[in-house]
Structures are given as C-alpha cells and as structure tokens.
Amino acid sequence: MVFLFLLATPLLGALTLAFFGARRWAPEANAAFSLGTFVAACALTARVVGEGNLSAAHEQFFIDPFNVFLVTLTAFVSLTTALFSRPYMRIEREHGRVKPVQLRLYHSMYQVFIAAMLIALTTNNMGLMWVAMEAATLSTVLLVTLYRTPASLEAGWKYFILCGVGIAQALFGTILLYFAAEKVLGAEGMSALLWTHLNEVKGQLEPTVLSLAFVFLLVGYGTKVGLAPLHNWLPDAHAEGPTPISAVLSGLLLNVAIYAVVRCKVLVEGSLHSPLPSRMLMGFGLVSVVLAAFFLWRQRDIKRLFAYSSIEHMGIITFAFGMGGAVANFAALLHMTVHSLTKSAIFFAVGHAAQKAGTQVMDDIRGLITLSPTVGWGLMLGTLAILGLPPFGVFASEFLILTTAMREQPWATPILLLALGVAFAAIFRRVQPMVFGETTARRLPHPPALLPVFAHLGLVLVLGLFIPSYLADWFRLAAKLIAGV
C-alpha cells in the first residue's frame, strides 16, 4: 500500500502538472507532490526497518537494504530540488528564457523522471529495470533542450543518441541474462528475469554467457553512469539544461545507473567465480577518475566543471564497488550518498550564481560573496565538501576508499591520489575568484532558495562527523548483500 503510494504520487503529479504546469501555483504543486513521494519513501523505510525485506505485485517489486536507502535519498533530493526549482524557474520566466508551455513540460517531465527512477530502483525485474532506465532518459531529453538554444539542442541530441545506443547494449545484455537464466529457471512466468530468483541460482548460470552479458550490461548502463570513455553526453547535458535538471541528473540518475551496474555485478560474480567483473569495474573507474581530473583543467563553463567532477566521483564509486568486500562497498554506498547531497547542493548554488552573473562562463562570474554572501558561501562550502576536505562526509568516504585501496590494490592508490590532487587544484583555482573579489553580479527578481543548499551541506557535515547507527547498520547490510555474503 505504501509502495503503491510511492509510485503513484509522482505519476499523478506528472498527469496533473501536464495540464496545470504553467499556473502560478505549479511550482508549489510540484514541490507538494515531491513531498508526498518523500513521505511515502520514509514510511516505506520505516516498514523495511521494522519488518525486513518487502516484495510487492507478485515479486515484480522488492525492497532490500540496498535499494531502500537509495529510494529515500532519491525522494529527498527530488524534494529539495523541487523547492530550489520554485524560485529558480520563476526567475527564468521573468528573464524570458522559458514560456508557459515549456514550464508545463518541465514540471510534468520532472515528475515522470522521478517516477521512472523510483521504478528502476525498486523493481525486481531486470527487464522492467531496463524499461524504466530508458524512460528516465526519454523524460529528460526534452528538458535538456528546454531553452531551445543551439548548444542545448546539440546536448540533447548527443544525450538521446549516445544513451539510446548505450541502453540498447544493456538490452542485449538483459536478453543474454534471460537466455542464461531460462535454462535454469524455465520460461514459465517471469521467474527468469527476477533478480531475487536469479540471485538464488546464480551459481548455476552459464559463465560464458554471463560474462558476455556483463560486458554489454556494463557498457550499456555504464554509458548512463558517465564512465569514461562513454561519458561524452554527460557534461553537455548537465551544462545546457536548466540547473534543477543538472542537479537531479548528477545527484540521482547517475546513482540509479550505478545501482543497475552493481545489481548485475552481484549476479555475474556469483556465476563466474573469477575477478573479471571486479577488474572491469576497477578499470573503468580509474580511467574515469584520471580522465575527468585532467579535463577539469580545461573547463570554462561552471556547470561543465562540476559535471566533470561528477564523472570523477562516479569513477571513484565504480572503483570502490570493483574492489568489493564489505568495507569498500560500505565506503562506496556512503560516497554515493554524500556525493549526491553535495553535488546537488553545489548545483543549486551554481544555478543562482549563474543567474546573478547572467552567464555560466567562469571568467565572468566574480565576487559572489559581496552581493550575496549566502550564495557565495554555499558555493564555497559545497566546493570544499566535494573536494574531500574534512570534516565533510566526502572526506570520510574517500578516506575509507583510499585506505582499502592501499591494502587491497596498492598499485591503484598513487593514481587515485594524483587524480584527486589534480582535481582539487583544478576546481579550487576556479571557484576561489568566483566567490571572492570584485563583484559583477546583479539582483534577482525573486529571493534565491538557499535552504536546500545548506540543508544538504549540513547533512554531509553530519555524515562526516558521525554516521547514525541505524544508517551504518543499513549500509553494512547493503554492503554485505552486494559482496554476496
């Protein structure tokens, strides 16, 4: 029942906002629907904590510790993003960048996007997961092109075609998985696609087919994660769309894609008994971290800068999941959480900063702190947090990942450290003059929404100082589940 509420709220929201998305109260309605989703997610979490794993609709959906925390995180960030988008989209409207019909599209697709991600997270059916991932892409394509500028159309086209081809590979991988599973579980009903059933018989699945399937699944979902060299769409899509969309793409969609990769990895690893999947994840992860760190130096657009930073962090997470083991998985889950919170907070601050400066080019944004101390400090603190300075949560997770790497994959540690150092310098030298110095900023017609920024950063700070025991238990359970113990 709670579960139905969780999925029905955003869908109902999408339908309502498709008709009334341009009304004066539409941004509030958008936030209200997101609030409903968040409440449902919290109730669901409470039930899972109380009663253990749940399954619904003839096992088509299931909730375990791994996805329940992602569901809550997704619902929470989508709520705060909806709150941020309220003044942001109003300002865009007054600046004449969006028309009422585009606002309707925006609000409606925002809810569809959230619903698609929640379905991808909660479904037990690998096929349905694919369908939901594709739906999440499709719902955001027209949001990336919302401003109809040449650059945004290019970004949208790249996003559409690259993710389309990528996700087609994932479909092939899913077909191969089904093919292997059908031998063991039979073609009756949908058993051969249900993750829980697959997980039970993973030892009997044909290894050659599964390794082939994993290559396709990793390339397919990896395109959506933004793993190098499949990352080309990501900076463009993040930079050219409206900022609330950048925040949810970076903070949520990438997480959901990683989730899909990890679910597949658990199955394949159980069948193969070889380090192949782990090595592939570590390889893709490291390449992404290094490539992103060096690309960071060449950025001039502030949203592109932080998009590359997302690629870097996705690389770190993928690497950590590749190392496997309870500690690395725990660290990866923690990193997913803190990255999602921090990066969306940064995008909120960046969105208002770009509106104030009237540009996204970093050289033209100066002295945010004089005109609007809160936006300036939000950006500065967010940047420090994402760069992994203590006492923020990113430090804790990166520290855990690095120490595990030192123990288990010592060769990778210097590479990781070097890349983190390069990224630090690249981002900090850009952000520092934007925040301090002479100002060029203007006043905005609506007060910026900074509550979400500081709420997120506060949470990240808390996670850096101490992790509440129930959260730690939860991460530990999920980490064990992924490690296949």
Binding site: W130, L138, L153, G156, I175, E182, R298, R300
Partner: protein, 222 residues
C-alpha cells in the same frame, strides 16, 4: 539440408533477408529508401515471429507478431516518412567512409558477429539458434550505419534497425522475452520516436537543416 523442415527453411530465409537488408541500408544514401528497408525489416520480423508462433504454438508470439507488424512495419515508417516530407531531408550527404570501404568493414563485422554468437548458439536449445549470429550481425551493422552517417535521420533509422536486430536475437535465442517486457520495450521505442519528432522540429527551427555538423560546437575548450 534435407533434414530441415519447410518452415524452418522459411525462417532461415527470413533471417538471410534481414541480413541482406542491413547491408542494403549500410550502402544506401537515400533516406527514403533507408526507411523503406526498415519497414521491410519490420515485415520480415513480424512474419518470422508469426511463423515461430505457429511452429511452437506459443500464443504470446502471435501477439508479439501483430505488435511488430503494427509498430515496426507500419507506424514507425509512416512517422519517419512524414517527418522526411515535412522536414525535406531526402538525401544523406557523403558518408564519412566511402561505400565500398564501409561494405568491407561490414563483412568483417559479420564474421566477428558470428564469432561472438558462437558460445550463445552452442548453448541454445531453440530450433532457430542458427539465426543468433545473424541477429548479432544486424545489431553491429546497424551500429556501423550510425557511425558512418552524418544526418540525424539516417542515424535514427540505424538506431531502429539495431533494435530490430536485438528483437530478432531475443526471438531466436529464447523465443522472445516475456510479454510485459516486450510491451515495455515497444512503448519506450514509440515514445522515443515521438520525442524525436518534436526534437527534429526544434533542430530545424534553430539551424534550418538536420545535418549533424551543426551539432559539433560543444567541444572541450583549450
């Protein structure tokens, strides 16, 4: 091949024609013809599914066949033809690689595809397992088509042809995915094409053309 029954021979013929149409698509510069080839692939797929449904007595294959014919042989080609007329994009420009070189690469791709499909076909128990290689080849050839084209419309045709290959692969290896998944995939494809229609008009409004070299300005700045 005397031990093959007539219907199985017919299925193999369909598979061969599917591969042939992929090659034709690879070499074709007229966008309208590419769409016609895509429709032809849709018809082949639909008929193959129908035949397989009759052979195995699997009712869900009948539904699947009807859906394939309606969507892939009729609706999508109709939509694409309409877009081509409205947007006036009949020809693709010179492909990035000349036609004969592309065909040679295509041949290598087919050999690679059969190699790739070998372990899968060896394990399959379906009577259509010999076509798995062809399905993989169709997917890879469609991929090649997408890489070598410059016009947005030809890339989309390539994308749909890739989806046809995947569908055929699923059918030959496992007699099709469960119904609800096939429905979901078909729905996604349908929505993708509708989104694309909107998208094309936006591109045209902005650039007066669907040539993708307009869409190459977002590069890394020094």
């Amino acid at each position: 091949m005397s031990n093959l029954t007539f219907d199985l021979q017919l299925l193999n013929t369909f598979a061969a024609l599917l591969l042939l149409s992929s090659f034709a698509m690879l070499s074709q510069r007229r966008v309208v013809t590419m769409v016609n080839l895509l429709a032809f692939q849709g018809v082949l797929l639909g008929l193959a599914t129908l035949l397989l449904g009759w052979r195995t007595g699997n009712t869900h294959l009948y539904v699947s066949a009807v859906m394939t014919l309606a969507l892939k042989a009729l609706f999508l080609p109709w939509l694409l033809h309409r877009l081509i007329r409205r947007l006036n994009v009949y020809w693709d420009s010179e492909p990035l690689l000349n036609i004969s070189a592309t065909m040679l690469v295509g041949l290598l791709v087919v050999i690679f595809a059969f190699g790739l499909a070998q372990p899968i076909a060896a394990l399959a128990t379906t009577s259509t397992r010999s076509s798995i290689g062809i399905a993989v080849a169709v997917v890879l050839l469609a991929f090649l088509t997408m890489i070598t084209r410059r016009k947005a419309m030809s890339q989309v045709v390539g994308f749909l042809s890739m989806e046809n290959g995947l569908f055929f692969g699923a059918m030959s290896a496992t007699y099709g995915m469960p119904m609800i998944i096939e429905l979901g995939v078909a729905l996604d494809i349908l929505v993708a094409m509708l989104v694309l229609g909107v998208f094309f008009f936006q591109i045209r409004e902005q650039f007066d053309s669907l040539d993708l070299h307009h869409l190459e300005s977002l590069k890394e700045e020094k």
